[in-house]
Structures are given as C-alpha cells and as structure tokens.
C-alpha cells in the first residue's frame, strides 16, 4: 500500500486529514467525563490527605465532621469495610512488582498527601467543609525523598516489571575504551520531577444499581483495568460491575492504573449501598504519582573524528518503598548509536513518596534528554556538525537486542527533511554568534526514539440492515484521536462513509482491549477493528453470493472490493451488490463479528520496532533576564503509516509542547525536610501556556513498516522525546551555557 500524504484527492479515509468525530460533542459540552455522570441520591466524597510523608496515625477524630448536618459518614482505616488482603488482588494490569498502595488500610503513612479519611456528604460543599474538621494526630518519622541522598541504597530491581526491558548486558570494554579514547566526556544530567496534570482531575462516579451491582464511571485509560481491580479488591463477580469512561480529560500515563479515588468511591458505595462520587482536588493530584527524578551519568569516549569508542549511560531512578516502578531510561543510548564498547545500567532508590508512574514517553523522555545533550557536547568537542556526528555513529541494527535489524528506520530522512525545513545549513555553530536586539538566538537539534508496540486487543463490528456500522472495544481515547482513526479504518474496510460508522469505546461491555498507553493503541485496536470489519464483510459477501442471480456468484472473496456501500468485483463495477441489499436478501437485521489482533510473533522474532524523530529548535534568550523563548520547532517524525494527518499532527504538537514544559518550566519542588511537594498547584507548577508556544512545524517522513497490517507505529510519545535536549542544545548555542539540569530556569542562565 502506498502512502498518501495529501489531504485532498483521497481514495481512502486512512492517510487523509480528518476532523475528530468526537469534535462536535467536545465543543458543545455534551461529552461527559467520569465526574459528570448523574445518579439519583448521589452522595459526594471528599478526601482528607495526610500532612506527613512517613510515620503513622496515632489518632483520628471524626466526631466534629460527623456532627455537620448533611454528612453521611466519615470513613477511615478504623471503620472501613473489609476488602481483599492479598497483594495480588490489588495488582492492576500495569502495576510494577511490589505491594500496591491500599487507601485507608491501616495507620501507616507512606507518602505526603496519602488519603487518611473520606468524608461522604449529601452535597459537595458540605463534604469539603466537614473534611476540614477531621482531626488527625501523627507520629512522624524523618522522610527520605531525595534520590541523591538515597543513592548509596541504590539497587537493581530484583523482579523485572512486565513489558519493561532491563538494560542489556554490557558489550566490549566500556571503561577501558573510555580511558583510551582521544576525547573523553563524562557529565551528570538531571530532569526534575514532573507531574502529569491532565486538565481533568481524577474522578470516579459509582452508581449503585441495587442488588449488589454497580455502574462505575472512572477516569482511566482503559476501563478493563478498573473493572478487574474492583472485582478483585471487593470480591465482586465479573457481571456485577460495569465500568465506563467514554471521554478522558487527558491521561499522559496518570490514568493507566486505577487510582485511590476509585477505591474510595467504591468503598463508600458498598458501605452505604448508595451512589457516590469522589473527585480529587488539583493539589491532591500531586499525591497520585509522578515522573521520577533520575540521576544520570553519560560517559562518551570518541576518536577525534567523532566516532564513538565508548558509551556508558548510568541511571538511578526514584521509586516508592512499596513498589519497584521501572522504566526504560538507558537502553535508548545503545539503540541510537553504534559503538563497540557499551555499558548501560539502571538502578532504583526507594523514597518516601507514592509510586512513580509512566508519564508520556516514560524513561525515554528522561534518558534521551541526557544522551542527546551529551552528543551535542561531543559535537562541540570535535567541531563536527551535530547532524553529521549522529550520522557518523548511526546504528543500522539494534545492539541492545543482539543486533537484530530494525523493521524500518527512516531517521536519516528525518534529519534531511527536518534540517532542510529548518534551514539548518545556515547555522554558524559558534555559541553566541546570533543575536536579535537584546536576545541571543540559538539553534539546536536532537534525536528522538520510542518503542513501537502492539498489544493483544479485541474489537467488534456490527453492521445493521440500514447500512450503519458500529465498531468498538473497551480501550480509552485520551484525546489521541482513537475514535476518529477507528472510524476511518472501519469505513475504509467496508467501503462506507465515516458518517455511516459509529465508534464506541470505554465500556467493559465491549470486547476487551488493554489500557491506552505506550503508543500502541492505533496498531492494536486499529488492527482488531479492521479484522472485525473484514469478518463482517466476508459474512455479508456470502449472503450476497447466495442471492438469486447474484452478480457475485462464483466470485472469490479476495476479488471483491468494498466501496460506496457496495461489494463489487475488482475492476468490474457493473458486477456489484450493496451491503444493505445483501442483508435484506438474507433476511437478517444485523451481522456482527468480534476479532482479536495481537503482535506478529514472526515479525518480532526477526525485527525490532521503533519510531524516530529529529527535532530542530530555535530559542531566543533575553541576555539580561535569562528568559528563554522557543520560537521555532521543526519535528520530523518517522512513525510508519500516518492514519490521520490532522490528529497525528496534533499528537506531535502536544508532545513538543510538553517537551517545552519539561525543558523550561516543569518542576515539582520537594521540601525534603518534610517530604512534601511544595508547589502543588497550577499557579506554581508551571506548564506551557499559549504565550509560551510559537511556531511548531511537523513533518511525517515516509516509512513503510510491516509490524502490523496497517503499517502503523504509534505517535503518542515520540513528539516529546528529544525535544528538551534540542532546546537545551539551542540554549547552549545561544548563550554558551550548557544546562544539564532541567528545567532551564532563569537562575541557571544568569
């Protein structure tokens, strides 16, 4: 299949630019999110949060809160209903190894902001007010929250997290080769703790249906995960719980695991046999999870022509005391660059915080930022252009996977097309060589990389006698465009218009699909929907062939094209039957199919699959104030087949904007004396606003990939990877100051 990058003159919906099918619902306010579903006799829960980070509750007095008229109940560890006691019941589908946090389980405090009580009242304001009257006494212990202090306790996680590759065994002699290299660079890098901060605070509405049955609206990136968590924790039967979440107000990884507001809302609803909603406040969002800080050291040994002789990348990441959260931080260095002597290590340090979690391009955002600044430093050390240096050390096989070839890797096209669009050849590499008024101008670049994955997913397709098609599964659309691309795929597969197709997601009554994450949803759910539609098509084709004097008699299925609502013999449009006619002739109301798609084992045995990017950035730095503006970004992406140019571009824009935040603004500041994030609000934790974002140009280079039938690789993460490094490199070019400790705030430039 050839790729079409034109938004006009299409033959198929797939590959063209299409507006979101959920757009009208979202611009009219009709799209409902988890905390917005109504229920009769709904009670409101408000969380009381721990004031200490480590220690235990010595007493908790709820009498004043309970005395407030309108308060239904105050639930604490002392009066909660019993739930499962085994850890495995609390381990959700993406839990790292360990013993998951249990809200209100006992008097122990594991992190600051941990829920210690839930106040349930007739209305929100009463619950909020009564929560201030809950009096908690603690015996506090000194928390350890600084990874630098915890470094000496660093350890290699004894149990690997499912789906996360540990660093490969070292090859060659990295240390020896480093010592013998003409050029040696060894530096430390650090990325601040970041919080996901989706715009929709975490919320769960549990509707009690009577008779021990619950309908749950939960903010989650895949409802099956919440469903299975609830049934395991509360000992409920599969059919007693239905979980829905048609829309998600942003996830970025924070919605992968069921969070404590779901547990609390269920706990209260079970206890009270009543519908309960729990919505977290913005500051409570800081108590859920975060992108961990990582202490990194990158050592590069090279010849004077820039050829890498030694590459070492060591990282120590923070985790909680109860789970070993793991992400892939250092492997990327070995994936991106060819080198004969490589050592990559990754350790954890336990902290008195909640367990960190995946946040957009988990690990890659962290690790690639370090290696890509290091490569820029090597470019300056050797006097070689940063793009040329990367081409000189270009990897054609994946050394971290025993030298397996890449299924596809059009990174060179990203360099070429990105550089051309940006005007990179006009760059004078000398720092401080460009100026506009009082602003220094700098140009920098970096590479991005992310794994291309596919997960087992099921999907259904139902064609009804009116010619309308419904497809769907249980995964979530975080704003990624899943509704739209599935609609495109389904319409193309059965030759219908997009208006004829309705996509339903986020309902456990639909076929099971995993959480939406890791950039795997387009490949996984997309392929499953395509297969289900093909199955429906084949059934309808058989009906058509059995029609009296069928124009399709004696035609094999593989010779039939689905187009304009009809099945026609390829190359002979006069021989055709409409889908509606076929159903009518067979006397059926609907034709349905459920299919499952999964990773292609043969492909995965033979190839490694990644998406790549080249990011080119212009910054302007106020010399007197140290203020940095990212005035121009060109992000050239190689990610296989692009299903929808409009929503795909938006995915990259979003990643780039979050990368700008990471580079210049985002930093959750921990007061290590009390183990508490101090700037837990959107006024003090800065994320990019409109005035921070200038021109962003997205290029999708052509790339053919065969990991799945669609040729799609996924786009959710790749936009952020490398962006922060490119910005830091541009800041060096502008100012001559190398910042290895993000974010690049004014104090680091003055």
């Amino acid at each position: 299949m050839t790729q079409t990058f034109s938004s006009t003159g299409r033959d198929t919906y797939v590959g063209s630019a299409r507006s979101r099918v959920d757009g009208p619902a979202k611009v009219t306010g009709l799209a409902k999110y988890a905390g917005e579903f109504a229920a009769a006799d709904l009670a409101h829960g408000y969380v009381v949060s721990s004031a200490i980070a480590s220690g235990r509750i010595t007493s908790i007095d709820t009498s004043a809160a309970e005395a407030v008229p309108g308060v239904v109940k105050v639930i604490t560890h002392e009066n909660r209903e019993r739930t499962a006691w085994r850890d495995k019941n609390y381990q959700d589908a993406v839990a790292p190894p360990g013993s998951p946090f249990r809200a209100l389980y006992d008097n122990k405090i594991h992190f600051s902001g941990q829920p210690v009580a839930l106040v349930v009242a007739e209305d929100f304001e009463t619950a909020r007010y009564a929560a201030t009257l809950v009096s908690v006494s603690y015996k506090a212990e000194t928390p350890l929250t600084d990874p630098a202090q915890a470094r000496e306790f660093g350890y290699v996680p004894p149990v690997k997290r499912s789906g996360i590759k540990p660093p490969p065994k070292p090859w060659g002699d990295a240390e020896g080769a480093y010592e013998g290299s003409a050029i040696k660079l060894r530096q430390d890098y650090r990325l601040a703790i970041e919080h996901h901060n989706p715009m929709e605070p975490h919320a769960s509405t549990v509707v009690y249906e009577g008779d021990g049955k619950y309908t749950v609206y939960d903010k989650i990136q895949g409802v099956s995960n919440s469903h299975d968590y609830i049934t395991a924790v509360f000992g409920l039967k599969k059919d007693d719980v239905r979980v829905l979440n048609p829309y998600l107000g942003g996830g970025f990884g924070l919605g992968l695991r069921p969070q404590y507001q779901l547990f609390l809302a269920m706990l209260a609803a079970r206890d009270l046999e009543r519908s309960v909603r729990v919505v977290l406040t913005r500051d409570q969002m800081w108590s859920l999870s975060y992108r961990p800080d990582a202490l990194q050291t990158v050592s590069l040994g090279a010849d004077e022509d820039g050829t890498l002789r030694s590459l070492r990348h060591d990282a120590l990441g923070g985790t909680s005391r109860y789970e070993d959260y793991q992400e892939v931080v250092v492997n990327w260095s070995g994936v991106l660059y060819k080198c004969d002597n490589v050592a990559l290590t990754y350790k954890l340090a336990q902290l008195d915080t909640a367990t960190p979690s995946d946040m957009r391009a988990p690990g890659a955002t962290t690790g690639v930022f370090a290696i890509e600044i290091a490569m820029d430093e090597l470019a300056y050390e050797t006097g070689i252009d940063p793009v040329t240096l990367r081409l000189r050390n270009f990897s054609n096989t994946d050394a971290t996977a025993d030298g397996k070839p890449f299924g596809s890797k059009e990174l060179k096209s990203c360099f070429t097309q990105g550089a051309e669009r940006f005007g990179w050849d006009r760059r004078d590499p000398t720092p401080r060589s460009m100026r506009e008024g009082r602003e220094l101008v700098g140009w920098g670049m970096a590479t991005g990389v992310w794994e291309s994955m596919m997960m087992q997913s099921s999907a259904q397709a139902i064609l009804t006698a009116d010619g309308k098609l419904e497809v769907g599964n249980s995964t979530g659309d975080l704003g990624t465009g899943t509704y739209t691309i599935l609609t495109q795929i389904a319409a193309d597969t059965l030759g219908l218009t997009m208006e004829d197709v309705t996509t339903k997601l986020g309902d456990t009554r639909l076929p099971e699909a995993p959480v939406a994450g890791g950039s795997w949803t387009a490949a996984s759910s997309g392929t499953a929907v395509m297969k289900a539609c093909r199955n429906v098509g084949e059934q309808v084709f058989r009906m058509a062939r059995q029609m009296e004097n069928s124009p399709l008699a004696n035609v094999e299925f593989d010779r039939v094209a689905f187009t304009n609502g009809r099945m026609e013999v390829a190359g002979n449009s006069s021989r055709s039957v409409s889908l509606v006619e076929a159903l009518k002739a067979a006397g059926v109301e609907k034709v349905e199919a459920t299919e499952t798609a999964g990773p292609d084992k043969d492909f995965n045995d033979a190839y490694e699959a990644y998406t790549h990017s080249a990011v080119f950035v212009e910054v302007k730095v106020d010399e007197d104030l140290g203020q940095v503006r990212v005035t121009r970004v060109v992000s050239a992406i190689a990610a296989g087949k692009i299903l929808n140019l409009k929503t795909a571009r938006s995915q990259i824009l979003g990643g780039v904007v979050m990368g700008i935040g990471s580079a210049l603004e985002e930093e959750s500041m921990m007061d290590h004396r009390i183990g508490r994030f101090m700037n837990h609000n959107l006024g003090e934790y800065h994320v990019p606003v409109n005035a921070d974002v200038y021109d962003i140009d997205v290029i999708f280079v052509e790339e053919e990939d065969k990991a799945n039938a669609l040729g799609v690789k996924g786009l959710g993460e790749i936009g952020i990877v490398g962006t922060a490094a490119a910005i830091s490199n541009a800041v060096f070019h502008a100012t001559g100051k190398r910042v290895r400790n993000l974010p690049i705030t004014v104090d680091k430039l003055l």
């Binding site: 507006s19 979101r20 959920d22 757009g23 009208p24 619902a25 979202k26 611009v27 009219t28 306010g29 009709l30 799209a31 409902k32 999110y33 917005e36 407030v68 008229p69 309108g70 209305d123 929100f124 304001e125 009463t126 007010y129 901060n197 989706p198 715009m199 929709e200 605070p201 829309y247 998600l248 107000g249 942003g250 919505v279 913005r282 975080l478 704003g479 465009g481 409009k646 929503t647 571009r649 938006s650 995915q651 824009l653 979003g654 990643g655 780039v656 904007v657 979050m658 609000n681 959107l682 006024g683 994320v687 990019p688 606003v689 409109n690 005035a691 921070d692 974002v693 021109d695 962003i696």
Partner: protein, 173 residues
C-alpha cells in the same frame, strides 16, 4: 445564617435570578456555592469544567454579561441578575434559538483540531468569545497573550490561535 462556630453548614439559602443561556431561572443557592459548582452540580450544565478550582487553569471560563470569568472564583450569590453563557449556550449566541448549528468558534475549533481531550475546550471557547468581545487582541502574539489564562495540557495552542484568527478574519470581512 450559621457560622463556623456551630454546626457550620449554611442553613440559609438566598434566592437569586440568573439568565443562563437565554433561560431565566430563579434559584435558591447557599452562599458558599460557586457559580461553577452551581452549574455543574445543581443545574447539570457539566460542559463547564473544573480543572483547579483556584482560578489558575481557565477550564471553568464562562461569559458573565459578555465578559469572560473564571466561574470557580465567583460565588453564585454575587451574580444575582446576571446573564450567563456557558459552552452549552454558545451556539445560541450566534444563531436563532432552536437551530442546531454551532457557533463559528466551535466550528473553527473542530476544523483546526484545536483540542484533543476536550476538557479545557469549553473554557477555551468561552474565553475566545470573550476575547473577541473585548476587541483588544488582533495579532497572533496578542491572541496568544490574551488566551494564556486557559491551560491546554494536550498542547493544542497553535491550533487554538489558528481557530480564533480564522473566526476573527471571517467576522472582519
């Protein structure tokens, strides 16, 4: 009304009149209820979003007498007699009541893909209409600056500016 020293739940409610999306309603409201919570929890107008409840994110932006306002920072009782437009009423500003078409800014947001998750979108839309009512922002830079009270964590900013410029140009013709 009750005070914080006793059983502190406000026993008193106040009768206020609000015209919301063209419909005049008499509402008995407790003094501690924000305009945002009134809309979302009492009137089932959940199109207006709560993102921070502190006036820091703009998700709750509505139009009060044509001006954009963070509805989380406004107590409902303070707005007795005001005319409120929420995202659910935007189309009604541009068209005859009862027609199902969208406001031009809503159409432009869809066309320019000026949102992803959609949660900040109602606030962005109301803020855009407020901005155009104000009439100060003309250039791209001015629009960017004047839309910076509305955070979009999905990062649709450039598309939001495109959408607003599109509508402003259309209106200027």
């Amino acid at each position: 009304m009750a005070t914080a020293s006793g059983s502190a739940r406000p026993a008193t409610t106040f009768d206020i009149t609000l015209t919301i999306n063209g419909e005049t309603r008499k509402i008995a409201v407790a003094p501690w209820t924000t305009l945002l919570d009134l809309l979302r929890e009492r009137l089932d107008l959940t199109g207006t979003k709560k993102g921070c409840d502190h006036g820091q994110c703009g998700a709750c932006t509505v139009l009060v007498d044509g001006m954009r306002v963070n509805s989380c920072l406004v107590l409902a009782v303070m707005k007795d007699g005001a005319e409120i437009t929420t995202v659910e009423g935007l189309a009604g500003l541009a068209h005859q009541k009862g027609t199902n078409t969208l406001h031009p800014i809503q159409e432009a947001f869809v066309e320019h893909d000026a949102f992803q998750c959609g949660y900040c979108t109602p606030g962005q839309l109301c803020s855009s209409v407020g901005l155009m009512n104000e009439g100060h922002a003309k250039s791209r830079d001015e629009i960017r600056e004047a839309m910076s009270g509305n955070i979009c964590r999905c990062g649709a900013y450039t598309n939001i500016v495109d959408a607003i410029q599109d509508v402003m140009q259309e209106a200027g013709r």
